[in-house]
């Protein structure tokens, strides 16, 4: 039971990082990235390939972040002239493209079998100690990511992103180059998603193309929407909630003796119901975006 709880918390922290990243893109900047899993996947595969080649994970992880940042940069750059909705569709297509490359380029990605037997984190430890150390690392990296995202959201950079989200013409009229802003956000969000992907690979010691299905993107989206678009704490809360639910329902079947083919559908159903309930009762999410006050002094 304790081991299961630790597993859920580690996965929550890892997906929390991916959710904070998506929140920076979609919540703060209004960029509807439906290909978030591609950035996650680029980081995951880069870390897998590099550690397989013998690089230690503390070096492979930043390299994975850099690769995913480059991926984000490319997605932002390629679609710079597309209107928001078309760009959103294009991101979905790019994510499928990345998955299909992972599926078919056997020499690099191991094809449908993926890459297994990765060294993983803290090889010196085992059992509970290893899980605790992994959780500490993941939680620390989540905290760091959340602080970076919060800081970027509160300075002029974040202000421009929020203005770009709500009225891009006004942002342009005030001298802000929104195409460059978009590319920067995607590169930063890419680095964060790549970090999440790299951690995921190192923790599970495996990555395969099935982990890059569009469904994963929507799972990250539900975390952000449940938690509250535009609020960093919301993304973390959403990640914890969705991950617990998603991992918890198969666990529940052992308790109430549900047929196992039902549990797969049941967890998707449960997540769908919760999203609906939150959207109806608290449309801004569990932790809504706050108005930033400066306690302005009178002149």
């Amino acid at each position: 039971m304790l081991e299961f709880c630790l597993h859920v918390l580690i996965m929550s922290a890892i997906f929390g990082i991916a959710a904070v990243s998506l929140n920076l893109q979609a919540g703060t900047s209004g960029l509807l990235n439906f290909g978030q899993i591609a950035l996650f996947g680029i980081g995951a595969y880069a870390v897998a390939i590099l550690t397989r080649a013998g690089l230690p994970w503390p070096a492979a992880l930043p390299a994975g972040m850099a690769a995913a940042a480059l991926g984000g940069f490319a997605i932002g750059r390629l679609g710079r002239d597309l209107a928001a909705e078309y760009w959103a569709l294009a991101t979905l297509a790019v994510a499928e493209l990345v998955r299909l490359v992972a599926l078919n380029e056997d020499w690099l990605t191991g094809g449908p079998q993926g890459i297994g037997g990765i060294g993983g984190l803290f090889p010196g430890l085992d059992g509970m100690a290893r899980a605790l150390a992994t959780l500490a690392l993941a939680a620390l990296l989540l905290l760091g990511t959340a602080l970076v995202a919060r800081r970027l959201g509160e300075t002029q950079f974040g202000r421009v992103l929020r203005l770009m989200r709500e009225n891009p013409d006004l942002a342009t009229a005030l001298g802000h180059d929104i195409v460059t802003c978009k590319v920067k956000v995607l590169a930063i969000g890419g680095a964060m998603a790549g970090l999440a992907g790299g951690l995921y690979t190192l923790y599970l010691a495996f990555i395969g193309p099935d982990q890059l299905l569009p469904f994963e993107t929507f799972l990250i989206w539900t975390m952000v929407v449940l938690g509250g678009l535009g609020n960093v704490a919301g993304a973390v809360v959403g990640a914890l909630l969705v991950t617990t639910l998603y991992a918890g329902i198969p666990f529940l079947k052992d308790v109430v003796a549900l047929p196992s083919d039902l549990t797969g559908s049941l967890r998707v159903f449960a997540i769908g119901s919760i999203v609906l309930a939150v959207l109806m009762l608290k449309p801004q999410g569990l932790v809504p975006e706050r108005l930033r006050r400066h306690h302005a002094q009178r002149p």
Partner: protein, 273 residues
């Protein structure tokens, strides 16, 4: 300062602005008038770099204004407002004001993270400036309120104030008084005069002739995309082309009753009789 040379803009078969040349001098207030559909807003969009001309060239302070880089004129000191400001609901009034300032340290993600001291000092200076400008338009008390929650008139004032955060040399205003009540309209005129005294040239697209007459040094009248008059505002009513653009051509045999405009209008009717 700001000039257009033989600028034409077509949308498919429709020529919205046709062969317009103009020149705006420093500290001038120029009105752009004309009936609905005459191309005023299109011309404003061209001047501000929001639209690319089909042919011709727009220059500001020696630099070509290009729609590929619509953000650039604003940084060089050419700013614009919008007829409907559509201010964000989830940003405070003060935040919108700060977004209009030039805060290079805070705009850079790296410096935001690594140089908090510089970002804070920069921000403090601009908060002071923003509060000063907000006080001038009576919005200082609402600094921490959501910008999108302001009334239409207040949004117009905020749209104007935010454009001033970077002390523009030329400000293009798209219908600053549309949907604004008469007392606010008078205040708007006062604000605009004060802005000019601060050294900013203004180009104003406006339907309210009284407002234009009060404020402008010079008027450009547009009809079907072309400039049909370039004169003082009080000379507009005497310009037959302008009168015809607004009221249509007089049917022969029907006497023209002149309400205002005196001898010039009488002469026009005499000439046609």
């Amino acid at each position: 300062m700001l000039s257009a040379h033989d600028v034409t803009r077509s949308f498919g078969g429709l020529t919205a602005v046709s062969h317009v040349s103009l020149e705006i001098g420093p500290r001038e207030i120029v009105g752009l008038v004309g009936p609905n559909g005459s191309g005023k807003t299109t011309l404003l969009n061209l001047l501000s770099g929001f639209l690319a001309p089909t042919s011709g060239e727009i220059r500001f302070d020696g630099t070509a204004v290009r729609a590929r880089r619509a953000w650039q004129p604003s940084r060089l000191g050419l700013r614009r407002t919008f007829q409907l400001p559509k201010l964000p609901a989830r940003m405070s009034v003060l935040e919108v004001m700060l977004a209009g300032g030039r805060l290079p340290a805070g705009t850079s993600p790296w410096r935001s993270l690594l140089m908090p001291g510089r970002v804070r000092r920069e921000e403090a200076a601009f908060i002071g400036k923003a509060m000063g400008l907000l006080a001038e338009v009576d919005l200082a008390g609402l600094a921490d309120h959501p910008a999108g929650g302001l009334s239409g008139g207040q949004q117009k004032l905020l749209g104007l104030a935010v454009a001033l955060m970077d002390d523009p040399a030329v400000l293009l205003l798209d219908e600053p008084t549309a949907g604004v009540n008469p007392s606010l309209r008078r205040r708007m005129a006062d604000h605009l005069r004060r802005i000019r005294e601060g050294g900013t040239a203004l180009v104003i697209v406006e339907h309210d002739m009284g407002f234009i007459g009060d404020l402008c040094d010079r008027c450009l009248a547009l009809d079907k995309g072309a400039v049909i008059a370039n004169c003082r505002p009080d000379e507009l009513s005497g310009n037959q082309q302008v009168v015809e653009a607004y009221l249509g051509r007089r049917r022969p045999g029907v006497p023209l009753r002149v309400v205002a405009g005196g001898p010039a209008g009488a002469k026009a009717s005499g000439a046609r009789a």
